[in-house]
């Protein structure tokens, strides 16, 4: 009988598997948020995250252990590009093509709690974001909604980080100006 290695003793997963677990689990929620923005619906988002996790697992040997989120976002971008989806991902669609974010909001009757909790900014901000040109809306979704850094958003979109920053700033200015055009930020209509 072979002596078991300390790292592969019976009942103990291999070290690479243990590392994979520790690396990806903290990133699942962030990956899902981005996948949700890319695909536009929860089912496809879950599929895309699973595909990303599988590719990451298979490519774990090449991972240097640095910046796991950036590594997985790159995998997600490639997985999404390579997949033959019938629809263009929502994040890459023009706002006038329709977006289930606004559709799902309008189709679901808000609860009384929702109505109370949702401020005027939340109500109007949807329209302001939907009215942005695609290239500006993309970065705003990824950074301000999904919580990515400039560099992470750049990986997802395949553009330089400086371009993310400039587009994001223009997007925020337009949204802010559109909101303040109708009302001040204290909630009073002008």
């Amino acid at each position: 009988m072979r002596d078991p290695s300390p790292l592969t003793a019976p009942g103990t997963p291999p070290v690479a598997a243990v590392r994979f677990d520790a690396v990806v689990l903290p990133e699942i929620e962030a990956l899902y948020r981005v996948a949700r923005s890319i695909t536009g619906n929860p089912h496809d988002a879950e599929d895309l995250v699973q595909e990303t996790l599988l590719r990451a697992f298979l490519g774990m040997a090449a991972f240097d252990g640095q910046h796991p989120r950036a590594w997985m976002l790159t995998i997600m971008r490639n997985a999404n590009i390579n997949s033959h989806r019938r629809q263009r991902p929502v994040l890459f669609r023009d706002s006038h093509d329709g977006d289930d974010r606004s559709e799902s909001r309008s189709n679901l009757a808000p609860s009384a709690e929702d109505v109370v909790a949702e401020s005027w900014v939340d109500v109007r901000i949807d329209a302001a974001v939907e009215g942005l040109p695609l290239r500006l809306r993309q970065v705003m979704e990824l950074v301000d909604v999904d919580g990515l850094t400039y560099d992470e958003a750049a990986l997802v979109l395949g553009i330089p980080s400086g371009t993310v920053m400039s587009r994001l700033h223009r997007a925020r200015r337009r949204v802010r100006d559109r909101l303040t055009h109708h009302t001040d930020l204290g909630g009073r209509t002008t």
Binding site: V18, L25, I28, R33, L53, V145
Partner: protein, 95 residues
């Protein structure tokens, strides 16, 4: 008053060690914690002292908070399925 003249005048206003125009150029990076400590402190000081820039920053903060509230994390059952998926990969039961 025209906006352009306001911007021009602001170039000569200096509060907190930086001008309004300088703050306007780096305000977004300040709000995203992308400035080094020294620059961030200068901007913070300016925003405390300059009402117009302070209000400007506050309006952007409100937009950022409202946008962040649009985030859609996975539902608990989705999170459970994804976590299980990882466990099965680790255990060698997938693909």
């Amino acid at each position: 008053m025209k906006v352009t003249s306001m911007v021009h005048l602001d170039m000569f206003r200096r509060k907190g060690g930086v001008t309004c125009l300088q703050v306007a150029r780096i305000l977004q990076r300040y709000l995203d914690d992308q400035l080094d400590e020294g620059a961030a402190a200068q901007v913070a000081s300016h925003l405390d002292e300059c009402r117009r820039c302070g209000l400007d920053a506050e309006s952007y903060r409100e937009v950022k908070v409202a946008l962040a509230s649009r985030a859609r994390p996975p539902a608990p059952e989705q999170m459970e399925r994804l976590t299980t998926f990882v466990s099965e990969l680790v255990a060698g039961r997938k693909p």
